[in-house]
């Protein structure tokens, strides 16, 4: 391949297919930010592959002019594991939703993360089943009234980041669909991570669950309700007026930065902490009791599944030479019939 890569622009990544999400769906923004990020990665178009499951978000691959595979419900991580293991030269993105990843595909999500396959997983969390027209999802809050739960859901929701951290994820992040700059930056970070990069994106389903994330998007209140994580920096939000401190009971608490608390007493973010406890603590901070953290919760290095599998192959070839069929056929006890 030539070393001079053509300079690509976002529109080079747009396919010729009409986009069929509902008007004002949060998916549009995520698609747009993705098209912005890909040209910055220094890879030609044919080296990207988007793999998805089933759900509104999973139509994503059809709208990208890259390789793409719209698979079946919940199984994208398994399909993508094989693709990356077979073809390490490809950058593999998995596009999924809260039902796809955490309900029907929960098992695959758990295993792909623990294996640390080098995939970029973007989970569009809208806390609802949109494609099937509005049933509650595994991330819907308890009590959620939907078509399938007319008097309120009984289930306790899953927290996607807690799940990922529990599976020993090496990269965990969160962003919001219309927080354009932050989403672009987060996707970029995910793209550069070696290993499973798990990104939860709060995504508005304006048809079946409109405003679920208003606390994080409404300009009037969002500064009080979200907190941007920066590695090595103290946790400060509400335009510098509030911070997060860990109290004597090892629990986070919101403190006013009115002079009575010094910044040094605040919780400092460390995305590289070898243990996931801090990231877990941050993942448990939920609105309205706490501002919800946005950004990279965890980013550590660990060997990837695909790398080690292929290393074992290379080592075997080095030690034993390229497989010889005749030798293989004649292994063990053989005898001659005349």
């Amino acid at each position: 391949m030539s070393t001079d890569l053509p300079v690509l622009s976002p529109k080079d990544f747009a396919s010729d297919q009409e986009i069929r999400w509902c008007p004002r769906c949060g998916d549009y923004s995520i698609l747009a930010q993705m098209k912005k990020v890909l040209p910055t990665l220094g890879l030609p178009k044919e080296k990207f592959v988007f793999v998805s499951g089933i759900g509104c978000s999973s139509r994503f691959p059809y709208y990208m002019d890259t390789y793409g595979f719209h698979t079946i419900h919940g199984r994208a991580p398994a399909v993508a594991t094989a693709i990356k293991t077979a073809r390490q030269d490809m950058q593999v993105w998995v596009i999924t939703g809260d039902g796809d990843a955490l309900s029907i595909g929960g098992n695959h999500l758990m295993h792909v993360i623990r294996r640390n396959v080098d995939l970029k997983i973007v989970l569009f969390n809208n806390q609802i089943y949109g494609l099937t027209k509005g049933q509650y999802s595994p991330t819907s809050p308890t009590g959620k009234r939907t078509k399938s739960t007319p008097v309120g859901s009984v289930d306790h929701p899953l927290n996607p980041l807690s799940v990922a951290l529990g599976c020993e994820a090496t990269f965990v992040a969160r962003s919001v669909d219309i927080d354009i700059k932050h989403l672009t930056m987060t996707l970029e970070r995910a793209a550069h991570h070696k290993g499973t990069a798990f990104v939860e994106v709060y995504q508005d389903c304006n048809v079946f669950n409109s405003g679920a994330f208003e606390f994080a998007t409404d300009k009037k209140v969002k500064n009080d309700n979200i907190i941007y994580l920066e590695h090595g920096k103290p946790l400060i939000f509400a335009k510098g007026t509030k911070g997060i401190r860990v109290n004597e009971g090892s629990r986070p608490e919101v403190v006013d930065l009115d002079g009575s608390v010094s910044e040094d007493d605040l919780l400092f973010h460390d995305e590289k902490a070898p243990e996931p406890s801090l990231a877990f603590l941050l993942a448990r901070m939920r609105y309205p009791k706490f501002p919800e953290p946005m950004g990279v919760f965890r980013a550590i290095e660990k060997p990837t599944y695909n790398e080690v599998v292929n290393q074992q192959i290379d080592d075997a070839v080095k030690q034993k030479g390229d497989g010889d069929l005749e030798e293989l056929f004649n292994r063990g006890d053989t005898w001659e019939v005349k």
């Binding site: 719209h70 293991t85 295993h111 030690q319």
Partner: protein, 626 residues
């Protein structure tokens, strides 16, 4: 030992040696007694000696059912012969029973007049009770075993004596008694034990006292046979006249794995195997995993669905993709197989059939997944199906399955079964030049106007192109939603859907033009045609030939291709007055044949988790002859 004691010396002592054509030996004991191990050793030694061999391992699903109980009995049957054989034998000539439970569950298969060797030390009150014997069948005056030539051997005591002085615990010493039994059988059938001794030395090389103990037990058994006057006869079975060449013993699962490695090499591709552990298919994974220097990547997936999905992903990436499972796993794979079908990607799904439904009989054989393979997916989703007829045939049918998959861009189902997968037989090692190459073409240029790539544009066989992921300019999207012809874009157009359903089916029907015509064993027309598939080959072939030898107008057609059927099958069927379809199910192939050819086929159906006896098939065919 053959160097220390030779046959002429035994004869000088007044022993007779008889020459036999075919012998069936069964070892049975507790599942912890090492019966599979000694059965395998006897098979290896007999095969290496030049006999044709056929085996039937039979073990419980529990790794260790309570010792001494009927549920915990494990057996290994081996038939060896001086001529070509197709089955492990109907009835047993020599039965080795290591405890009362083994005797009780196996003695009914022993021929009248057959040799029965029992470890009398295990016939104590506790073991007799566990085996539900009210009295000791070995006791003086008991007549229940009088039809047999019985040898009561105190194997436990003799084994302990043989290993005395090595510092073993009683438990360790007792674990050697399977080798004592093996040594005795080696003497009885004049087998050379060198290969087994070498195996013991290799296996236990790091534990010298265990190695020495097993060798002593083996020799002890042999010497016991030699020196005990109870054994007045011993036997030889001369080598078989198999086609010339170099041979090796293979089980069906080993052959399947080897077939896939070979297919990959012939295609110049890498193999990607994804599977989830399941009896009786796991050995395929075990066989493939070490072949890393052949570029074989194996993924032990989190579940059957993931394994199937990964196979689809690997095929999309451009690898030779395979997965293997058994009935319960195949059920779980159904949806992802449908994805492979609609995206028209090449892969092979192996179904090592076992007794069903549900968990069923995990370690027993059955052929009841044929209709699952035919119809076990939603929508109109036919897939090609091939089946292996014997352990060594798995090698060739695995390659054939892969050839069809890549030539026609389609997932292919390869059916074997527990009997074929665990059974072993001699395999003539082929010359590489005998094997047909597998051709694969990945496009590198757009195939449509204006440099557009059309992923669903078909060739004359109705096959779409297989793009290697990462090829510049051929970026495209596929998925499980119905595709528009040529472009592969999502399409809900009614006419397009019908056209696509029909073209996918037509592609698979068209495979009939590229597979061999069906062969008939026996006259081309006649009274009864037996049609079989899969692992019943041996029993049906042997039965048909026995009847042919009696001058009966009986022929046999054994199907290796089940979807589509060979193009001349209807013609063959029309030339016989009656058709019998013996199957280890309720009549699944029979249903397909009746549907396709409107033939009034009769069934011989056995659902016991065991293969057919030749005699059962002979009887069923005879009943149809006037």
């Amino acid at each position: 030992m053959s160097s220390t004691i030779d046959a002429p010396e035994a004869e000088a002592q007044g022993r007779r040696k008889e020459t036999l054509e075919t012998v069936v030996v069964r070892f049975c004991g507790d599942s912890g007694d090492g019966m599979q191990l000694v059965g395998t050793q006897m098979t290896n030694v007999s095969a290496a000696f030049g006999n044709d061999v056929s085996t039937l391992p039979d073990f419980p699903a529990e790794i260790r059912a309570p010792a001494g109980t009927l549920a915990g009995v494990s057996g290994y049957q081996l038939c060896f012969s001086n001529h070509d054989i197709f089955t492990p034998g109907d009835a047993v000539d020599t039965l080795v029973a290591m405890n009362p439970a083994a005797l009780k569950t196996n003695v009914e298969d022993l021929k009248r007049g057959g040799t029965l060797i029992v470890n009398e030390d295990e016939f104590d009150k506790g073991n007799l009770t566990k085996a539900q014997y009210l009295s000791n069948p070995l006791a003086e005056g008991d007549v229940s075993l009088q039809a047999f030539r019985i040898h009561k051997v105190p194997m436990t005591r003799l084994t302990r004596d043989a290993v005395d002085g090595l510092g073993l615990t009683v438990r360790e010493a007792d674990r050697c008694k399977n080798f004592f039994a093996l040594g005795l059988i080696y003497w009885l059938y004049e087998r050379d034990s060198t290969a087994t001794e070498n195996w013991v030395k290799h296996k236990f090389g790091k534990k010298p006292e265990i190695m020495e103990a097993n060798l002593r037990a083996l020799r002890g058994g042999y010497n016991y046979g030699f020196s005990t006057e109870a054994f007045t006869v011993h036997y030889e079975v001369p080598p078989a006249k198999l086609p010339a060449g170099r041979y090796r013993k293979l089980t069906g699962n080993e052959a399947t794995a080897l077939g896939f490695v070979t297919a990959a090499k012939l295609a110049g591709k890498r193999l990607f195997y994804a599977g989830y552990p399941i009896t009786p298919a796991s050995d395929i994974l075990h066989e493939l995993a070490p072949h890393k220097n052949f570029g074989v990547r194996t993924l032990q997936a989190e579940d059957e669905i993931a394994a199937m999905s990964a196979a689809v992903g690997a095929a999309f990436a451009g690898e030779l993709a395979i997965t293997a499972s058994s009935g319960p796993g195949i059920c779980l794979k159904g949806e992802a197989m449908g994805l492979g079908m609609i995206t028209e990607l090449p892969m092979v799904i192996v179904d090592v059939q076992r007794g069903g439904p549900s968990t069923g009989l995990p370690t027993k054989t059955e052929q009841a997944d044929l209709l699952l393979a035919m119809f076990g997916r939603n929508g109109e989703s036919p897939l090609p199906i091939v089946a292996a007829q014997s352990p060594a045939d798995c090698f060739y049918m695995a390659m054939e399955a892969m050839r069809i998959a890549v030539e026609f861009m389609v997932p292919v189902i390869f059916l074997t079964d527990g009997y074929v997968a665990n059974g072993a037989e001699p395999w003539r090692i082929p010359e590489l030049s005998e094997l047909k190459p597998i051709e694969i073409n990945h496009p590198t240029e757009p195939n449509g106007e204006d440099d557009v790539f059309l992923p669903y544009k078909r060739n004359e066989k109705l096959v779409r192109p297989w793009v290697k992921l990462g090829t510049p300019g051929l970026e495209h999207r596929i998925g499980g939603i119905e595709k528009a012809a040529n472009s592969g874009h999502v399409s809900y157009d009614p006419d397009n859907h019908e056209a696509m359903v029909r073209v996918r089916a037509a592609k698979i029907d068209g495979i009939a033009d590229y597979i061999p015509e069906q062969k008939v064993d026996g006259p081309e027309s006649g009274e009864v045609l037996a049609i079989s598939w899969g692992g019943t080959f041996g029993a049906v072939r042997t039965a048909a030939r026995e009847l042919q030898a009696e001058g009966k107008a009986v022929s046999h057609a054994h199907l290796q291709y089940l979807n589509p059927f060979p193009r001349n099958l209807g013609d063959i069927i029309s030339r016989f007055k009656k058709v019998l379809v013996p199957e280890l199910n309720m009549g699944q192939l029979r249903m397909l044949l009746r549907d396709k050819y409107l033939v009034d086929a009769k069934g011989l159906n056995k659902i016991k988790g065991k293969p057919f006896l030749v005699s059962e098939v002979v009887e069923a065919i005879s009943d149809m002859l006037d």
